[in-house]
Amino acid sequence: MSEQVFLVLTALAEEPLHGYAIVRAVDGLSEGRTRLRVGTLYGVLDRLVAEGLAERDREEVHQGRLRRYYRLTDAGVRALSAEVARLSANVRAASSVLKARGAL
């Protein structure tokens, strides 16, 4: 799972979000390290919807512009949980190696 996909899933895990809110949330979650371009965002969303990890929630019109909300599916929650477990295990392994080396 790429970092972008991971961050979008994480952003959607809290509540359904529209595209611009996802971009802002990813920026906040990554502390500014990952900035989603609009083309990238929709590439990720298309992929998540195709894989059944996210789906459309609702549409709203805000200041004359369409806002389409997306939410995580149960499969998306499971995929994110599995990725968190995998990354956590990697972090634990790396931490123990660095501690043994005295670098942490």
Partner: protein
Amino acid sequence: MRSNLERRYRALLRVLPAWYRAEREEEMVGIFLADRTDGLDLEHGWPGWGETGATLALSVRVRLGARRAAGTVLRAVALTGLLGQLVAAAQSWTVTARVGFFGDVQGWWYDVAAAVAFAALVAGRRATGRVVAGLLGLMALVPAVWSVAVGFPSWWALVWHGPALVTAAAAVAGFHREAPPVSRRWWLVAPVGLVAGIASVVFTPGLSTRTMLAAWLIAAVVVAVLRPWSVREPVSAT
């Protein structure tokens, strides 16, 4: 009233298929303009290289995705072309064995690259398949450019090396990370092609030079029959 920046961004979005724009354009424009409220920027600003690159990448992804006709056609063209190269290789090896001349080293590398690329793509090792297919394309491009440079008829260079170039380009573009797995039936087609290649040389000498042109023709027919440019698919079908 639309600003110049909005007009420029909408012009950029025209690289996306019309059916995709009908579904997503307003949403995308809204996000793009959300942070760009400065009057000077709205008058003179441009989408920027990063946004342009991401939009072009999205365009390619949308057109060549797992369930898109253009992507399906591209992958069929790549596998058909590589299979044609395998048949040509079988013919070449048979002729070599019969004549006893092993001097065409470039041809051997060409055949090996086609066989490896084909096997890698069918086995699901896309990265390997794309890299080797890319090398195959380079092996075709260099002599093609050389032929043109030395004054050899360019149409002949195109006819001779064009199928390999198209095959390589289709493999590199079509077998991206999100491409669906290749049907295992291709494993069955390959030995049939090899046997047919050997038999064609044994029973019909002289046919080998036409094999890649035949593969090229088959690939063109596949594209003409499926007509990917005429497909209208909703975003929700992704």
